[in-house]
Symmetry: C2
Subunit: 149 residues, 2 copies
């Protein structure tokens, strides 16, 4: 598979795939006799992994550190574990920040509807839609925050 097909398959641009290779986020890719990249499914899976971790906010630098520990087949399990745990911590914090912001916006959204001229049907539909997210912290966020924002 050439780089364009790989790009279409993964949704990652050709330039980004080359960039990832240069930055060692994916292993050195095999070349055809004329020097073109010949991309197989193993590379595709790694591109997808990189995409997932990038979407989750992991930096190129952290991702490279993490991946290099795997590519070097030495006994660095302890470091791998430490790196994983570190990254997990970062991501869990990020997730919680995100959840807090979501709760904040949901709170605002609910207060909107109190002042809106929407029909009862619309109101109940939206309440159903957001019921699960509001359930835990229903309508009472932190005291410190400016409820106008």
């Amino acid at each position: 598979m050439n780089i364009k097909e790989a790009s279409e398959k993964t949704g990652v641009s050709s330039a980004a795939i080359r960039y990832y290779e240069k930055e060692s986020l994916i292993p050195a890719i095999d070349r055809t006799p004329v020097g073109n990249r010949d991309i197989d499914d193993r590379i595709i899976r790694r591109i997808r992994f990189v995409t997932q971790m990038r979407a989750a906010g992991m930096s190129i630098e952290n991702l490279r550190r993490y991946i290099q520990l795997f590519d070097a087949q030495e006994d660095n399990t302890k470091e791998q574990k430490a790196l994983l745990q570190e990254q997990l911590g970062v991501m869990e914090e990020k997730r919680d920040d995100l959840q807090a912001a979501i709760d904040h916006l949901n709170y605002k959204l609910n207060h909107f509807y109190d002042h809106m001229e929407s029909t009862e049907e619309e109101l109940r539909a939206l309440e159903r839609e957001h019921a699960d997210k509001v359930a835990k912290q229903d309508d009472t966020p932190e005291d410190e925050s400016d409820h106008n924002f």
Copy 2:
């Protein structure tokens, strides 16, 4: 309160506070007779709101659009609602991506321990620590992904 104190109170640099004001993420700040910013608690709360939304991944541009709808005290409730819902969608998707990546790394972490020379005590401690996160999707992620990554 001068800008330095506000910076210390919020953890946001003075330059960033000035930048936020210029970008209309916070309202025009009152000045002392000599032209220095005089920051009150209302501004502090807005800075904190901005910080929270930024941490959640909302762009400056989206944040400004959102805030301007509030600063203009017209009847734009519909647009406010639409913008809020749009942003909520973005953030929920982001949160889910993040959770997927966390699950992926937790899966890896668990498989590490199977091959590690750690003591039983360490193992059980870590399992307790991560029990809640693994509970829902215990040990069986998607088939498509490269389990070496």
